[in-house]
């Protein structure tokens, strides 16, 4: 732990330190530059951007690009759908994972072994894209909001992470509550859940980021139902439509996207990218200590 400046720091060690700092600085630049570049372009006047040469400072500063994209109706609606799915999906996911985790952490539960195996199997076996698509069609879910939320409600990985956290809590807490006559749900709700806040924060972050970032479900299930497309999908359409006939054109690219693409120069695209990215940038550094411990917990178990 101690000895940051070692007593016998040789010249070789010093050279190593310098080289290491240089390498790490390069990593920083390679990671951050693209984001700063995108930000600068998004704040630069569209007509001027075409001339190129913008690095991390806008040349002709303007907020006009942002004003323009918020006039695009599809984007604003997509933003609401994305927020809704993030909130609803996270709540459902948290409820399911925490309850299943609690039930599995109870050594006396009869169906524990069955439940556990039943869940683990879902981690390894998947029906695949087409059967799931057909199932959704049969259940009449295509073109609805629920395609975003329902499939992801039960996640075995999240259950495992929360459960291994619960296993570390002293069982005596539950025992005494039980003697006081509390039922199993009350114990879960009043005693266990409040203690699980750190791990719940981790899982909530994973769920929320997953919901916010996913675009393929929107493309696949709701591509022809513009009332429920998400922000990521809208961004995808705009970005792909001018990329040398990107693979997004395989589908009947929405008329809206076509129109948007024709009038969306570099700066507009970058402004949308920033709008999509910023919510995550704001949230994640504050939750860093939680997700680091959550990842470690999950890795130890699985």
């Amino acid at each position: 732990m101690a000895a940051p400046k070692a007593f016998n720091a040789t010249r070789g060690d010093k050279v190593f330190d310098v080289v290491n700092i240089v390498i790490m600085s390069l990593v920083l630049i390679v990671t951050l530059y693209p984001f700063l570049n995108v930000l600068a372009i998004s704040l630069n006047e569209s007509a001027d951007t075409v001339k190129g040469g913008i690095t991390i400072v806008p040349r002709v500063f303007t907020f006009e690009n942002y004003q323009q994209i918020f006039q695009y109706e599809g984007l604003v609606r997509g933003l609401w759908v994305s927020i809704l799915r993030t909130v609803v999906g996270t709540l459902f996911g948290l409820a399911s994972a925490s309850m299943l985790a609690y039930v599995l952490s109870r050594p006396d539960f009869q169906a524990r072994k069955f439940t556990s195996i039943f869940l683990v199997v879902t981690m390894y076996v998947s029906g695949g894209m087409i059967p799931i698509y057909i199932l959704f069609r049969d259940l009449d879910l295509l073109g609805t909001f629920w395609v975003y939320v329902l499939p992801g409600v039960v996640s075995a990985f999240n259950v495992i992470v929360i459960r291994s956290f619960m296993d570390g809590l002293p069982y005596a807490l539950q025992e005494s509550a039980k003697l006081d006559g509390a039922n199993d749900f009350t114990i879960f709700w009043r005693i266990i859940l409040p203690l699980c806040k750190p791990v719940l924060a981790t899982i909530a972050l994973f769920l929320a980021v997953g919901q916010w970032n996913s675009w393929f479900d929107s493309y696949l299930y709701n591509g022809r139902h513009p009332e429920w497309t998400t922000l990521q999908f809208e961004l995808m359409k705009v970005l792909q439509s001018t990329q040398q006939g990107g693979s997004g054109q395989m589908i009947n690219a929405n008329d809206m996207a076509q129109k948007m693409a024709q009038i969306s120069p570099e700066s507009i695209k970058m402004a949308i990218t920033i709008v999509v990215t910023v919510p995550i940038l704001i949230v994640y550094p504050f939750l860093q200590k939680y997700f680091v411990s959550g990842m470690t917990l999950g890795a130890v178990k699985s």
Binding site: P34, S96, P107, Q110, G127, E175, W212, V292
Partner: protein, 331 residues
């Protein structure tokens, strides 16, 4: 009763064994149904989600039957025409299938190798940083791309590699390494490298988390002893840090091999275009294009089944080898 607190419970012998055993003995004669009634809240809490998982994870498996039929969406199940392995035969005689298989394997092996080694090097170097503030900052920044969607990453990568003001081309031209900008996104032979590099860029920092946690577990006295013996930093990294995380490395490596075929298709979908299709089409994209978009559901399902079966075989093989080598199982 005072010794109830199960500090380090393992999953095999769960918490509070003493108390539970007592209770168990007392109610030994109690019938299954009475216990079930007593545990009704536990059932209420789990049953809905079990049904849920059944519908959305198990029921689609039934859809695998489609691969053995000439599936017509409008018809009920009993009216479908069964055709045996027709679609598989067709699949295995399709050149595009082998192309997709080649691309899947190439990109998964590339990102397995590079995406595996880079985070280890990064974690070890990060651990050697002296300034805590700087270390924290580098770590936080390096996690950033993991949280950004592939849509955004693909947009950024395209921007960086573009011939008009893309940073990479500007840099290469500026350093006189090349004379004129390279059309990275339009050249098929660049595609695999672009995908691998984007993957490393996005996930490198995130994948260090577990290694860094393992490194914290290494006994610090080893380093001091090594320093007393005159070992320099390279030797400390090579002889203490790396061996210290050896188990972590091997477990993660085996898990990665098990998931070799499941590279997904997001990157290929978003970064690819018609010009590079020969290199970008992976099995799942192939299933999407020829299965869903052309309404050839049976054919597409056959592709998915092939992919799943190979994955499961890989997983079991790898797990079997691992079991034999280390007497441990990862599944």
């Amino acid at each position: 009763m005072e010794t109830l607190t199960p500090g380090g419970t393992s999953n095999k012998s769960p918490g509070a064994p003493a108390a539970e055993a007592d209770v168990g003995k007392r109610f030994k004669k109690q019938s299954f149904w009475r216990t079930a009634l007593q545990q009704k809240y536990l059932y209420f809490m789990s049953l809905p989600f079990i049904i849920w998982a059944f519908v959305f994870s198990y029921l689609p498996l039934w859809g695998w039957t489609m691969a053995f039929q000439d599936f017509k969406p409008a018809k009920p199940f009993l009216d479908q025409k069964w055709v045996g392995f027709k679609h598989f035969v067709e699949l295995f005689s399709d050149d595009r299938f082998y192309l997709a298989l080649r691309n899947t394997l190439a990109m998964s092996v590339m990102s397995l190798v590079v995406g595996f080694i880079v985070p280890i090097i990064f974690a070890v170097l990060l651990n050697e940083l002296r300034g805590m503030m700087f270390k924290r900052f580098v770590q936080t920044v390096s996690y950033l791309p993991h949280f950004v969607s592939w849509v955004v990453v693909a947009g950024i990568v395209t921007k960086m590699l573009s011939t008009q003001g893309g940073a990479i081309n500007d840099l290469l031209v500026g350093l006189h390494i090349i004379n004129e900008p390279i059309q990275f996104m339009a050249k098929g032979n660049w595609f695999w490298y672009i995908v691998t590099a984007s993957d490393v860029w996005k996930e490198m920092g995130w994948n260090t988390i577990i290694y860094l946690a393992a490194i914290t577990g290494i006994d610090q006295e080893q380093y001091e002893a090594a320093r007393v013996d005159g070992a320099n930093r390279y030797r400390q990294m090579w002889h203490i840090t790396l061996p210290g995380i050896r188990t972590t490395i091997s477990v993660l490596f085996i898990m990665a091999i098990g998931h070799l075929m499941q590279i997904g298709f997001e990157k290929q979908f978003l970064l690819g275009n018609n010009l590079v299709q020969e290199y970008s089409q992976v099995l799942e994209l192939y299933a999407l294009q020829y299965g869903l978009q052309m309404n050839r559901f049976s054919y597409g399902t056959a592709i998915s089944i092939f992919n799943s079966v190979v994955s499961v075989i890989l997983l079991f093989t790898v797990n079997g080898i691992f079991k034999r080598v280390s007497k441990e199982s990862i599944m």
